[in-house]
Amino acid sequence: MRTLERDSDDWPLIEAAQNEPARFAELYEQNFVRIYAFFARRVATREEAQDLTAEVFHQALASIKSFKWQGAPFIAWLYGIAANVLSKHWHRQGKYSTEEITDLSDAGGEIERSVMLAQLVGSLLPDQKHVIVRRFVDQKSIREIALELGRSEGAIKQLQLRALENLRQRLGDTI
């Protein structure tokens, strides 16, 4: 699994973004799922996770020119910003969590598992992938998906089951 030790080759991308901010898009694509996953497990709603993810990347872009590479991967810097953003978010909500936001190295591997899951969803058969994305990511009901695809609700439930079984098998093969 790729963790904080990865990405010693981040530097060319960082340097490019420092010279030309629009190149930050590449760093964004590389790290988007990880930062979102960091928040998704720590806040109650998708909207909060989205807002906080956005805040991290806006802050990162705004300070990219002052970033100094000291050997640590770029994602570690982003996790640092994320921890700070989350702490302020909790503070604004009057929530003083007893949880220390220190597990920035994703010791449990949950964030990397999210990245892997996103990749595995992409490898499903098209109809299974469609059902999984609409059902869980877009949070649509079986009925809505059945109407979209012009199929019965029973057929969609079967697709959902097969897709989840495939993901379970592939996760088992990968880990």
């Binding site: 030309e20 901010p21 629009a22 190149r23 930050f24 898009a25 590449e26 964004y28 694509e29 590389q30 988007f32 799922v33 979102y36 996953a37 998704a40 497990r41 109650a44 709603t45 998708r46 996770a49 989205q50 807002d51 993810t53 956005a54 805040e55 990347f57 806006h58 872009l61 705004a62 604004r92 598992r113 999210s114 899951l117 996103a118 990749q119 969803v121 992409g122 490898s123 992938k129 999984i132 994305v133 059902r135 869980f136 990511v137 877009d138 949070q139 079986i142 029973g154 439930k157 079967q158 959902q160 089951l161 989840l164 079984e165 993901l167 379970r168 996760l171």
Partner: protein, 351 residues
């Protein structure tokens, strides 16, 4: 328990899971995976945030001092044109490098068949072009489309944004609308605007605010985020995302559409499977062009498609069927994806 019963039971459990607010530990493997899938980000958010960041990057570029009037340039590095070639993740899902190989192999096979003179088929020529040289904006008939343009903002206030009217639309946005001013000494002073065609008029008043808010007392920028007004996200006004007004995303006002030109770039097809030839037309050796009029929304999806020039013999239907599946890199304005109306010409040729 047979497969059908298993699917039913699993879905009942998933229903319970989807209604739960927190991600709890789930005993079943499949339910556990379902719980984790719920935590993946959506593609719409990913693209919307990327567009926001590219707008910010544009402003950060050396020498930027606010766009001069009529500036047609969009930011460098605006959403990548063909992300599948880079093998990086695209949307919530990764690009599959095998698709590139398959595409290459199939194109090579078609070229070889054409060269050998034995291919009987058709050629599709796609021309996306502006419908008018001087008009850059066409409001579509009310209610005929799903709202797309829009915007919103706020500063996470606990109070709804104050009621009022949005500022004027402008081709560029230097200052977003705010009621509670956080920066008393801005470097660049400019009247607040929202991004959209200047021809678009909404009710105006001296009181800036959210058109649909019920808060008429307390000054507030609203519960949204990223700097504008309302409950949405962005530098606009309302519940949408981006620098426009109202529901939807990417500038403008719900349901409005841009045309190519004057700073609006043309959408580019990134997934464009060819239409099939109808049996009727093939037997009659019938050839010609179908012109389709359509709107490419800010997510690159096709909507409001219709036949602008018909060919008949079942080819109109075949063209519609194929182009509905197309995916585009959306048209851009000031770094934001916007809904753009284009014509697509599909040429049916027999060889």
């Amino acid at each position: 328990m047979n497969h059908e019963q298993l699917a039913e039971q699993l879905d009942r459990e998933i229903e319970g899971l989807m209604k739960a607010q927190s991600a709890e530990e789930h005993s079943g493997d499949l339910l556990q995976i379902a719980a984790e899938l719920r935590l993946l980000p959506g593609d719409e958010f990913r693209q919307s945030l990327k567009a926001d960041l590219m707008q910010q990057a544009y402003v950060m570029q050396p020498g930027y001092e606010g766009s001069p009037a009529g500036d047609d340039q969009v930011p460098l590095g605006a959403p990548e044109l063909m992300p599948m070639f880079s093998q990086r993740e695209f949307g919530a899902l990764p690009a599959d490098p095998r698709s590139l190989l398959l595409s290459f192999a199939s194109h090579a096979a078609v070229v070889a068949l054409i060269a050998s003179g034995i291919w009987v088929g058709h050629q599709t020529v796609i021309k996306t072009r502006p419908l008018s040289a001087d008009v850059t904006y066409i409001p579509l008939p009310p209610g005929s489309v799903v709202p797309q343009g829009g915007g919103g903002g706020g500063d996470r206030s606990t109070v709804q944004a104050s009621r009022g009217t949005p500022p004027k639309f402008s081709d560029e946005q230097r200052t977003p609308p705010v009621i509670v001013v956080r920066n008393e000494n801005p470097k660049l002073q400019a009247p607040p605007t929202v991004l959209g065609p200047p021809e678009l008029k909404l009710p105006q008043s001296a009181r800036l605010g959210d058109l649909v808010s019920s808060n008429v007392v307390i000054p507030s920028n609203g519960a949204g985020s990223r700097g504008g007004l309302g409950g949405g996200a962005g530098t606009g006004d309302g519940i949408g995302k981006g620098p426009g007004v109202g529901p939807g995303m990417g500038g403008g006002f719900g349901g409005d559409t841009f045309r190519v030109g004057n700073g609006v770039s043309a959408p580019r097809a990134i997934y464009n499977p060819d239409p099939e030839y109808s049996d009727e037309a093939r037997k009659a050796k019938f050839q010609g062009n179908v012109v389709l009029s359509l709107v490419v929304d800010p997510l690159g999806h096709v909507r409001d498609i219709r036949v602008a020039r018909s060919l008949g013999m079942g080819l109109d239907e075949k063209a519609l069927e194929a182009v509905r599946k197309w995916k585009f890199e959306p048209g851009m304005k000031n770094g934001y994806p916007v809904a753009v109306q284009v014509n697509v010409e599909v040429n049916f040729r027999l060889y």
